[in-house]
Symmetry: C2
Subunit: 246 residues, 2 copies
């Protein structure tokens, strides 16, 4: 793996990489221009329809680098960003066209699609982690951030990846992730939108309840699936600061 | 009103005062040694059984002064601290001995006691606010922090006191405060303990739902009524920072 396409902006170094795999996985890693020792790392999993350089992802990475002094990294999920999308578009269309789940909450309808996506994305994230922890100046510990589709990938990832010691999840619920969440024991911050039109409130609350972590914190705010207030980015900065700083 | 008994500790000036009233109300105000202009002010209402100089109150005031550069103030609730306690002790004993509410959640049993306490404490806080905003160097805007008994006083106080522009409440629920909370429209941070043995979880969630505020944020953590994690103090520092800073 080679780090390429280096850019520097506002004191942050951004480098691209591509993981070798049956289907290559493009990613980005951000580090401070002047890193202090071996850096903790935050993995950022974008939401459905977004990608590794989505403005929200890049802005979040900037916060973790400039406010925490950490490294941050993102990869394209299967079917997203610079990756082939046709197969996943068809699968997504099949979700919407499935008469068996019509009228059910979107979080229920999308669960099989999410599970399939996660089955491919979890080993990709683990390969990315192998690579990132070999980058000069990045040493861990490692945190994970992902909401909605990012949480659908992140919850099974954190269960199977002992190098991740703290995670922010949210905007998700339902039986599939709920069962998996019981096996998570690292500190969790869980973001819930009180009026989420895609995830029933009770399912989000039940998922928070299900996490096996002794240290877990629910943050709920009014508004729809996409209306999470900006101050929750700041809250995650402090959460990762508490758990990733030595 | 005179400010007396000035002490300086760790860059913080602490002064006592006593409000003239049918029953005098003792209080404390904390300010930075070197205040920057007219300061915002955070009112801190202690919980049941505590008082204006309880270690938790003083530590919280220290955070608001040193981290925000704000002023902070606390008064003894009726029957607490340096105030006559016999009458309130009897009323509290009557709550515990009331066979009509035996077996109900403590938040339900205590509601009439809380309502009586709030009826006396709300005008006392308003008199304290008149006095504090006349202190040289304190200019507002004003925030309020109070959990449990502090919230039982604070919710009706904030409804009737337009000078308070942001509030942190928590550890409370039930029909009395729920109806009052619908009339609150200022930003609210609401702290809930997920395993609160005194307040049923559903009552806390219903109260969060009831606040009329467009900007409200629920923070829920595992543990009992008294186990709120220390990082929620930090969270309130940032909440007041967002809403009280000009």
């Amino acid at each position: 793996v080679q780090l390429t396409d280096l850019t520097v902006h506002d004191g942050i170094v951004q480098r691209r990489f591509t993981l070798d795999a049956a289907e290559p996985v493009p990613g980005v890693v951000w580090t401070p221009v002047e890193p202090a020792g071996d850096l903790p790392l935050v993995l950022i999993a974008h939401g459905g329809g977004a990608h590794k350089l989505h403005p929200g992802v890049a802005a979040r990475a900037t916060c973790y680098v400039t406010e925490c002094g950490f490294a941050a990294a993102a990869i394209d999920a299967p079917g997203h960003g610079d990756r082939p999308s046709a197969v996943w578009r068809d699968r997504w269309a099949a979700v919407l066209a499935d008469p068996a789940t019509e009228g059910q909450p979107m979080s229920v309808r999308i669960a099989p699609y999410h599970a399939r996506l996660a089955a491919q994305a979890v080993p990709e994230w683990q390969a990315a982690l192998d690579m990132l922890l070999a980058v000069d100046g990045i040493g861990g510990p490692v945190g994970f951030w992902g909401l909605s589709q990012g949480a659908a990938i992140g919850i099974p990832l954190v269960v199977s990846e002992p190098r991740i010691v703290a995670a922010v999840f949210g905007l998700i619920g339902g039986p599939d992730v709920l069962e998996t969440a019981t096996r998570i024991t690292v500190p969790v911050e869980f973001d819930l939108q009180w009026d989420d039109e895609l995830v029933p409130r009770e399912d989000g609350l039940a998922l928070f309840d299900a996490f096996g972590s002794a240290d877990k914190s629910l943050h709920a705010n009014p508004g729809s699936h996409v209306d999470m207030p900006r101050f929750e980015v700041e809250s995650s900065v402090r959460f990762f600061g508490r758990h990733l700083r030595g």
